[in-house]
Every structure is written in structure tokens, then in C-alpha cells.
């Protein structure tokens, strides 16, 4: 469904992605883990066509999206839902207008029908009676959840979650994990989630891929990842201060 081949990307001399190869199968939930700043968000933005690679190919729904015109790219992007790491709510619009944004723009539904969907989606992420507020008056965790409600309001085929549980309390995080699982089971959406939260990763993932130094260094089911022999992956999932990643930093200092 999504094939990424030999993807390279740098930002003014900072080489972030160095040959990513990754296949995502229809209906699965792929979790991408990796250190802060290793390029996870950059990778997601390539998949949805917001960034153009320096080199390599990204094939989505049998279309090579790196070569599409803007107009055709919009058509592909509409089939995605994306939860941004920073939530990226439109701050000039109310919560209801944010969550209903896609429907107001692209559907013929009237206001009442849209509000019904808005309420239902907000309810799913545990939020009530905030429809007429503006994003500025919400806490960070609430913004994330509104953004999640907004991402699923498009009825997407693929949802990209950039750190869905970061900055959210453990109970709410569990609810969001369940929601992600439900989206997959009931609506058959394909999901790609970026997270540091290993509890969440094990819970929602069909497969986990680890991004390190611009490459995918390990990929497998949660069980396989737990039993990895790769020292770098081991250090990351166990959260050890010492290991190959740490000594790399030491070398730099």
C-alpha cells in the first residue's frame, strides 16, 4: 500500500534520512520508534507529500507521489488523516470548526449534520462541551485530542499519528491507544504511528520499525522487537542510559 524506497533527505547540510526502505501493508498499524530528532516527523511528512525527498521514491495507493502535480497530490492527501506532533489546530477557528473543517470544505452536509459528527468524534477522544472554544484556551493534551478528532473526521484510508500519546495522562493515553486499535479493527484504516511511548507501541503495533541514523535498522512484530539481539534497539526499548547510542554521543563530545 505504501512503499518507500531508498529515501534521502537533508536540510541545509543536515543529512536526516539516509536511504529509508519501508513497506506498509494495507490494514496494519506500523509504529516507528527512534530518538528525538532522528527524523521520524520528517519521514511522516514525506509519506503524506508535505516534504519532497532529495532522492528516492514513495509509492502510495499505486501512485508515485514524489512526481505528482499539486492538484493530483491534493487528491491523495485527502485520503490521509494526520495528527501533527504540535496538534496544528487552526487558531482562528473554533474547536467545532476545526474538527469539522474537512466536512465544511469538501462535503455537502449541512451544519447540523456536521455538528453531529463533530460531537461524536470529540466524544470518542473524551472531550465534551468545548465546541465553541478556541484552541488557545485548551491544554496541550486537549489540543492533541482535538487534533485526533479532526484527523479521523475525514474518514481516511490511512492515518498518520505523530506522537499521539505524548503529553497526555496515562489513562487518556490508554483510551487513545484503544481508539487507534478500534480505528484499525472497525474501519480497516492503515496506520503509521510515531511514538517514544513503548507501552503504547507494544499495544497498538502490528509491526515496529526503529529509525536510527537515517535508516531503518530493525523491523518486526512487537514480540520480535522485544527479543532483538541488536544492541542499539535493545538500549532504546529498555531505555538504558548506556549502550551504543550513548557511546556515540560520548564520541562526539
Amino acid at each position: 500500500m505504501i512503499q518507500i524506497n531508498n529515501l534521502w533527505k537533508s536540510f541545509d547540510g543536515n543529512q536526516v534520512l539516509r536511504g529509508i526502505n519501508l513497506n506498509i501493508i494495507q490494514g496494519e498499524t506500523m509504529v516507528i520508534i527512534g530518538q528525538s530528532g532522528c527524523g521520524k516527523s520528517v519521514l511522516l511528512k514525506h509519506i503524506i507529500g508535505l516534504l519532497k525527498p532529495d532522492h528516492g521514491s514513495i509509492n502510495v495507493f499505486n501512485e508515485e507521489i514524489t512526481k505528482l502535480s499539486d492538484k493530483n497530490l491534493y487528491k491523495i492527501q485527502k485520503r490521509f488523516g494526520m495528527l501533527f506532533q504540535s496538534a496544528a489546530l487552526f487558531d482562528s477557528l473554533t474547536i467545532a470548526e476545526n474538527v469539522g473543517f474537512f466536512l465544511y470544505e469538501h462535503s455537502d452536509l449541512n451544519n447540523d449534520e456536521i455538528m453531529k459528527i463533530v460531537n461524536k468524534n470529540l466524544h470518542m477522544v473524551g472531550l465534551h462541551n468545548i465546541e465553541s472554544l478556541y484552541p488557545a484556551s485548551l491544554s496541550g493534551g486537549m489540543k492533541k485530542r482535538v487534533a485526533l478528532a479532526r484527523a479521523i473526521s475525514t474518514n481516511p484510508d490511512v492515518i498518520l499519528y505523530d506522537e499521539p500519546t505524548t503529553g497526555i495522562d496515562p489513562i487518556m493515553a490508554a483510551i487513545i491507544n484503544n481508539l487507534i486499535i478500534r480505528m484499525q479493527k472497525e474501519l480497516k484504516v492503515t496506520s503509521i504511528a510515531v511514538t517514544h511511548d513503548m507501552t503504547s507501541a507494544y499495544k497498538i503495533a502490528d509491526r515496529i520499525a526503529m529509525l536510527y541514523q537515517g535508516k531503518i535498522i530493525e523491523i518486526g512484530t512487537p514480540e520480535e522487537i522485544k527479543q532483538t539481539q541488536n544492541e542499539t534497539v535493545k538500549q532504546f526499548i529498555l531505555g538504558n542510559a548506556e549502550g551504543p547510542i550513548y557511546s556515540k554521543f560520548e564520541d562526539n563530545i
Binding site: 490521509f80 501533527f84 487558531d91 474537512f102 470544505e105 475525514t154
Partner: protein, 235 residues
């Protein structure tokens, strides 16, 4: 910037045509600019009257204040000063607003909803500025002339009917019209520059700040330069 101009114009003709965001932007432009434009216009008109009076009195030509004020307001000062004020008031907030949307990934979010950011953000502002600036200019022309008129009557004791006569007699439609054509160009400059600076804003609060400043500086300079060339071209 020329690509953005092409995009903005192309989006004007892309169906469906949305009127509401345009009206909203027109109200924003009008309401935010009127108070400061009024103050600017009335004082410019008064200063102009005073200066002209002291120069022209030496030749006993003080009844021609109305002519000088009328021509310079409608041809030059009205459009240029209004445009500079709009660049400072609306251009800056446009650049800041779009810039902060850029750095907080809201522009990216728009795209993921299949919404073209140029269409959604730049085109309504462009249309609003291009249509509102001529109206604002007429308004400032009028207020400026009114300011000069009151000073001339009250302070310099020029006969009202004479003043009005001298204003109207020498003020032809092409004078007003050339000012309004200038205003249309200035509106376009402000919209394109401020949207461009916003959409290409650098990272963080610093990037947005720089985009805002650059937008005001660049549009003001462009307004002055284009004004020179339009003055040569227009009758």
C-alpha cells in the same frame, strides 16, 4: 513571488467562488484602517493647507489652496499614504498571521485536508485589498480635503464658496481616477508581499518577526517605486 501572484490570480477563477472569506477580509481591512487613516488624512490636509498658505500668500494666491490640496491629495498623497498605512496595519498582521500558521504547521495541516493554502489564505486577502484600497483612498482624499478646507476657512478666513469653486474647477475626473488606479496596484503589492513573507516565514517567533518587518519594509518601498512609474504612465 511571481509564482505566488500567478497562483493567487489562478485561484480567483477556480470554482467554487467563495464570497464569505472575502467579505470577512474586507471588513478587517476597513475597520482596522479607518481610524488611523482618518487621523492621517485630516492632519495631512491641514498641514498641506498651512504650508501652501504661507508660500502662496506672498503672491496673493492663497485662494488657490483648494486647488493645490485637491490635486496633491487625489493624485499622490491620498493613495500613497493610505497604502503605506494599510501596509503597516494590514500587511504586517497578514504576514504575522500566515507566518505563525506556517511555523505551527497549520499550513501543512491545511494541505492534508486537501485545501490549497494560497486559495484559502492569500486569494481572499488579495481580493479584499485590491477592492478596499480604492475606497479607502477616496475616503482619505475626502477627509484630507475637508481638513484643509476647515483650516482655510477658520484660520485663514478664505471665503467658502471661493475655496470650493477653486477646488472643483481644477480637479478633473482623471486626477481622481489616476489615484484610484494607483490604489489598486498598491493593494495588490501589499497582498502579494505580505502573503509571500508569511508563507516563506523562517522558524520560530524570530522567523515570524522577521517576516512581518520585511513585509512592511518591502511593500512600502515597492509602493513608492511603483508610484513613480505609475505617475509617469498615467495621464
Amino acid at each position: 513571488m511571481s509564482i505566488l501572484t500567478k497562483d493567487i490570480v489562478a485561484q480567483i477563477f477556480t470554482r467554487p467562488f467563495r464570497i464569505r472569506p472575502i467579505l470577512h477580509q474586507m471588513v478587517v481591512v476597513g475597520l482596522n484602517t479607518l481610524p488611523i487613516a482618518s487621523i492621517m488624512a485630516i492632519f495631512t490636509g491641514m498641514v498641506l493647507a498651512v504650508q501652501t498658505y504661507y508660500q502662496f500668500r506672498q503672491f496673493d494666491l492663497e485662494t488657490y489652496i483648494g486647488t493645490v490640496v485637491g490635486l496633491s491629495m487625489t493624485r499622490e498623497l491620498g493613495p500613497v499614504l493610505t497604502a503605506i498605512i494599510v501596509a503597516g496595519r494590514i500587511g504586517s498582521s497578514t504576514a504575522a498571521e500566515i507566518g505563525s500558521m506556517k511555523v505551527t504547521e497549520q499550513i501543512d495541516a491545511l494541505r492534508t485536508f486537501g485545501v490549497n493554502p494560497v486559495r484559502y489564505l492569500a486569494t481572499p486577502r488579495f481580493i479584499a485589498l485590491v477592492t478596499m484600497l480604492p475606497f479607502l483612498t477616496i475616503y482619505t482624499d475626502f477627509i484630507g480635503i475637508l481638513g484643509a478646507y476647515s483650516i482655510s476657512i477658520i484660520k485663514f478666513h478664505i471665503r467658502s464658496s471661493l475655496y470650493i469653486d477653486k477646488t472643483i474647477h481644477f480637479l478633473d475626473p482623471p486626477d481622481v481616477l489616476s489615484g484610484l488606479i494607483k490604489a489598486i496596484f498598491f493593494g495588490a503589492i501589499i497582498a502579494i508581499v505580505s502573503c509571500h513573507k508569511g508563507l516563506t516565514s523562517g522558524e520560530g517567533a524570530q522567523g515570524v518577526g522577521r517576516a512581518t518587518t520585511n513585509s512592511v519594509v518591502l511593500s512600502s518601498i515597492l509602493i513608492l517605486i511603483i508610484d513613480y512609474f505609475l505617475t509617469i504612465i498615467l495621464p
